[in-house]
Symmetry: none
Subunit: 132 residues, 4 copies
């Protein structure tokens, strides 16, 4: 019930290909069911600040078992989870973090991608998540 390194590397490879296809440079992080880093890759020339963001997106997606952008809708001023980003040594709640499921539908980890627009980040993360 936990992602393997082989699966994580497969997800990163698929994400990288998608990133190249849409002409972006990404940081790509995979965490396991325990929200701990399994694999990571920073493409040459990708934003340095996106390193930490990609890891935090992956953790956030597994912490709450949902896409990070959904958390971000609830964390706005006046929202029910206002400023939840202060927990867990910092969450990132805009799109780019996606849970990873096995064939049985169990969540076995998550992927976080950062380096471009949040739409591109999410598209690359989804490609990675679906590669497993």
């Amino acid at each position: 019930m936990n992602i393997t390194l082989q699966q994580a590397e497969k997800a990163i490879e698929a994400a990288k290909q998608k990133a190249v296809a849409i002409d972006t440079k990404m940081n790509i992080a995979i965490v396991d069911a325990g929200a701990n880093l399994v694999a990571f890759g920073r493409m040459d020339g990708a934003w340095l600040g996106s390193l930490d963001i990609s890891i935090k997106k992956a953790k956030t997606a597994r912490y709450f078992d949902m896409n990070t952008g959904i958390v971000g809708e609830l964390s706005q001023p006046g929202g029910s989870l206002y400023n939840i980003e202060h927990s867990n040594n910092g969450l990132i709640t805009f799109p780019g973090g996606v849970p990873i499921k096995n064939d049985a539908g169990d969540i076995i980890g998550a992927i976080g991608v950062s380096g471009s627009s949040v739409e591109n980040d999410h598209a690359v993360a989804e490609t990675g998540a679906l590669a497993i």
Copy 2:
């Protein structure tokens, strides 16, 4: 492809002269291409709290290779990068951080300035960045 200490000191000197010219007292930080501090100067009487802000502005500008104020436009409530400031041990996303380029246009570091209005901070940072 990395800023030298001599270049960093030249940038700080130019920034200080600009700060004096507009009657402000600034903290001025320079980071290299790896976002690590190269040089720093706090003018006498400058706000103490601006010390950390100037360093975070410089790092933020290099983390994303853009002026810090641009990040801040996207990190507002409802914006696509809302609360991105929780990453990287704290970003500062209002104006005053500017990437530094060499003659070939490569980014070799960044400057962060804090101690007055954000308009003044940005003006001083830009003066420092252009001195190289």
Copy 3:
């Protein structure tokens, strides 16, 4: 003068093969010349606590451009660098971190390995470093 993702992945692959050959399960981290993470892999069943250690070993090796074990010899009680581990948000100064050089002899990054005895950790790190 900076390690590429392709080089980092090659180092991780070589390190993994060495880890398998000596029947160990390792966390393997690669940082660039700026001591920022480039690639990471945690082998299935590797100690969870070694995740952070492997990253700190890689950073430590680049911070001081030497094998981590050399720092550890100097940081013992009574040694000239006693308790240096309190700097840089935590160093790891026992063996397992090794600088990575290019063909010209320039240091372009570092590898950190953790998951077994320090002798095994160092052997796997060296194998990874030499693969580039």
Copy 4:
């Protein structure tokens, strides 16, 4: 009763010249009477990990108004200040941090130097402190 930026820059300049004279590459930090950074310079090619160490040495020297090496003699196992390094977000207690006094003998700040042997670090720090 507080070091000025001009004095701090003078100390860094003297320290740099000493560092060159003994063929070393140093990180040099100056803090004021409040133990807050006033000026900093990292010489080209100096150890990256010494950045934080130089700042912590300067702070430690001002925190206790003595050379850092004296603190380190007391922080050894069995010593009266055993593991004092855990305080203040991390002290560095080996040589290289020296208080800075004005002509009246008042402590107005401190200098921290890191990048070589602790003997060299201390020699460069002392040169910087005496330049004021």
